[in-house]
Symmetry: C2
Subunit: 157 residues, 2 copies
DNA sequence: AGTGAAATGAACACACC
DNA sequence: GGTGTGTTCATTTCACT
């Protein structure tokens, strides 16, 4: 499934304003509203667009503390096992297996430092997990709405 | 500014479906559509909700490679300097100053490994940056739509 | 703060060019 | 891909509690 320029343009607009009407988008990209809807429906069916969401300030909801935790696991722990050890903790907002020394990198949000400490204790109690290495976020320098990329992959120069 | 239960409920619904109508939300939370709209307007004015966005699959847009890069800087480089060194690179989707050895942690998306290498070269050419340590993402285990937290901070147990 | 009603405008599903 | 139309539904504003 290939995306043309119009598709990318529509995705760009929806990243910027997920509640834009089809007519509004159509004005910007040069299509009629029904044509935009047809393309958005197709983009959703193809899994390019997976839904819509509000962009919320975590601090305003009481999540003022954030950390990245490197997870070290026993011998040959599978990604699935890591995933299930980690996903039971609701404070985990993202987790990745990565190259390098650690088995996984986990992005955590907590109410405060005390809460973060509790999360760490709970993670370290998991059977697979032998060690953790925590980097507390001091400040967010950059963060696009959804950590989303721009719709146009930059061609290498 | 404090949020009551209804506000959190509304935010939860908008995180799940950013295009939900006010009437739909009202049905779930027990309010009329105008009442929901007034609260959403207030949440936006207060900066709790910063906008709406589509949830897009980066791979479908051609961004198949992802990495976390620890950035090491000269002596006393300020967060602002790091930020400006890093934000000029469009492949950077997020960046944080963190505790620990590194000065900052940068989340990067690239088209492929070759492209990632180019990003690394460009980053290392920045004056402030003395070294980088890259962890390539092998697989995403968990990733809530927007790396957003749930609207209810979990109380420590 | 909330509701309810009325007017405007968007969405949707058609058939059609 | 663009129009047209008609129906349904959402948004918005206002009066009122």
């Amino acid at each position: 499934m290939r995306l043309d320029e119009l598709d990318r343009h529509i995705v760009a607009r929806l990243l910027q304003d997920g509640r834009a009407s089809y007519a509004q988008i159509g004005d910007k990209v040069g299509l009629s509203a029904p044509a935009v809807k047809r393309r958005v429906d197709r983009l959703r069916a193809d899994g390019v667009i997976n839904g819509f969401s509000a962009v919320v300030d975590p601090a305003a909801l009481g999540w003022t503390t954030e950390a990245f935790i490197e997870i070290f696991c026993t011998g040959a722990t599978s990604p699935e096992e890591i995933s299930s050890s980690v996903r039971v903790h609701p404070e985990v907002v993202a987790a990745y297996t990565i190259s390098g020394d650690a088995s996984a990198l986990v992005h955590v949000r907590a109410r405060d430092i005390q809460h973060l400490e509790q999360v760490l204790e709970r993670l370290r109690r998991e059977d697979n997990i032998t060690a953790t290495k925590t980097s507390i976020v001091l400040s967010r320098l950059i963060g696009r709405p959804t950590d989303a990329p721009s719709p146009e992959p930059v061609t290498g120069q």
